[in-house]
C-alpha cells in the first residue's frame, strides 16, 4: 500500500515537474525568434551555474539571477559574441565557480585526478587480494608439490610394505 502510494506520488511529481518546465521553455521560446540563437542559449545556459541555487544551471533555475544571466547571454548572442567570449564574461564576474565544468588547474587537480587515483588504488588492492587468494586456494588444494607428493607416496608404501 505504502509502496503504491510512493509510486503514484513519484509519477505525479515527474508529470507535474515536466509540465512546469515545459511552460517555462514555451514562454522563453516565444521571446526568441531565432531558433539557432535559442539553441546556443540553451547550450550555454547548461554550462553555467546559478550562484543563488548553486546546484542548478542557469538553464534549470528560475531564480531571478538566472533569468538575468539568461537575458545577458541572449543579448551577447544577438551582439554576435562567440561562446568563449560569453563564458569569459561570466568567469570574470563570478569566477570559475560559475562553470559547471571546472577548468583543469593546479587547484582543481585533486578534483579531476581524484577519481582516477582512487580507481587505480582500488584496482591495485583488488589485484593484490586476488593474487593472494589464488595463492591460498592453490595451497589448500595442492598442499604438496608434485615432488613432495611422490616422496610422501614412497614413504607410505615403505610403511605399508613393512
Amino acid at each position: 500500500m505504502k509502496r503504491r502510494l510512493l509510486i503514484a506520488l513519484f509519477i505525479f511529481g515527474s508529470f507535474f515537474g515536466s509540465t512546469v518546465a515545459f511552460a517555462d521553455a514555451a514562454t522563453e521560446a516565444a521571446t526568441a525568434a531565432d531558433p539557432v540563437a535559442e539553441k546556443r542559449l540553451q547550450k550555454l545556459s547548461e554550462e553555467l551555474r546559478c550562484l543563488v541555487c548553486q546546484n542548478q544551471t542557469i538553464a534549470d533555475s528560475n531564480a531571478e539571477l538566472a533569468q538575468d544571466l539568461r537575458r545577458e547571454v541572449r543579448t551577447m548572442i544577438k551582439d554576435g559574441k562567440t561562446d568563449k567570449e560569453i563564458v569569459d564574461f561570466m568567469v570574470v564576474r563570478y569566477g570559475d565557480f560559475v562553470l559547471y565544468r571546472p577548468p583543469l588547474k593546479a587547484i582543481t587537480l585533486l578534483l579531476w585526478g581524484g577519481p582516477v587515483a582512487l580507481m587505480v588504488l582500488g584496482l591495485f588492492i583488488l589485484l593484490r587480494y586476488l593474487r593472494r587468494r589464488t595463492a591460498r586456494i592453490n595451497a589448500e588444494e595442492h598442499p604438496l608439490s608434485a615432488d613432495e607428493t611422490s616422496r610422501a607416496d614412497a614413504l607410505l608404501k615403505e610403511i605399508e610394505s613393512k
Binding site: L51, V52, Q54, E64, L65, D68, L69, E72, V91, V92, R93, Y94, G95, D96, F97
Partner: protein, 194 residues
C-alpha cells in the same frame, strides 16, 4: 588486527574530510574581482536623480560599496551595523540599491512600465532609508541589476572595499556582522588609508 587498523584509519580520514567540508560556507565563493579595478558604471543618485555617480568620481579615496534593497531581509539585519559604522567612519559608504522593484518578487513586472518602475524604485528606497536610518554617503540606483552583474552580485547584501587606485581589495557576501566589521573591514580600511 593490522587490517582493522587501516580500515579504521581510512574511515577516520573520511570523517575528518567531510567534517571540514561541512564546516565551509558554500556561499563564500571567492570573487575573481578582488585585485581588479572596480567595474565602471554611471548611475543616478538616490537623493538627486539628475546627478550620476561612478567609481571614477571616487578615485583617490578608500571607500565601501554596499549592495542593498528594501526587499532584502538580510540587509535589514545588517543595517544597524552600517548605521553604527557611519557615525564615526572616515571613509565614504556608497550604497548600490539593487533591483529595488523587480527584485521584490511581489510585482508583476509585465504590468509595470519602465518609467513607473524607476519612480517606484526611488520612492521605495527613500522611504526605507527614512524608516531605518541612512548610513550611506550616497546611494546609486541599479534598477535593472545590470551593474550588479558586473560586480558579480548574487546574494544581497554584498560589500566591496575599494582602494584609492580604484581596485577592489575585498568582497564580503552576506550581511556584515559586528565581528566582520571589526576584524576584517576596519583593519583593511586603516591599512589602505595609511
Amino acid at each position: 588486527m593490522n587490517r582493522y587498523f587501516w580500515i579504521l584509519g581510512a574511515f577516520a580520514a573520511l570523517v575528518a574530510l567531510l567534517a571540514v567540508g561541512l564546516g565551509l560556507n558554500p556561499r563564500d565563493v571567492p570573487s575573481p574581482l578582488v585585485g581588479k579595478p572596480a567595474p565602471a558604471f554611471n548611475l543616478s543618485v538616490l537623493a538627486t536623480p539628475d546627478k550620476t555617480l561612478g567609481p571614477k568620481d571616487m578615485q583617490g579615496k578608500v571607500w565601501l560599496f554596499n549592495v542593498w534593497a528594501s526587499w532584502c531581509v538580510s540587509c535589514r539585519a545588517e543595517h544597524p551595523v552600517l548605521v553604527e559604522f557611519s557615525k564615526n567612519a572616515n571613509v565614504p559608504l556608497i550604497g548600490l540599491n539593487y533591483k529595488e522593484v523587480r527584485g521584490d518578487g511581489n510585482f508583476d513586472m509585465s504590468k509595470i512600465p519602465a518609467d513607473e518602475e524607476k519612480k517606484l524604485a526611488f520612492q521605495r528606497a527613500e522611504q526605507w532609508l527614512a524608516q531605518h536610518g541612512n548610513p550611506y554617503t550616497l546611494t546609486v540606483m541599479d534598477i535593472d541589476g545590470r551593474v550588479g552583474i558586473d560586480y558579480g552580485v548574487y546574494g544581497v547584501p554584498e560589500t566591496y572595499v575599494i582602494d584609492k587606485a580604484g581596485l577592489i581589495r575585498m568582497k564580503h557576501t552576506g550581511p556584515i556582522s559586528p565581528d566582520v566589521l571589526a576584524q576584517k573591514i576596519m583593519p583593511l580600511l586603516a591599512e589602505l588609508n595609511k
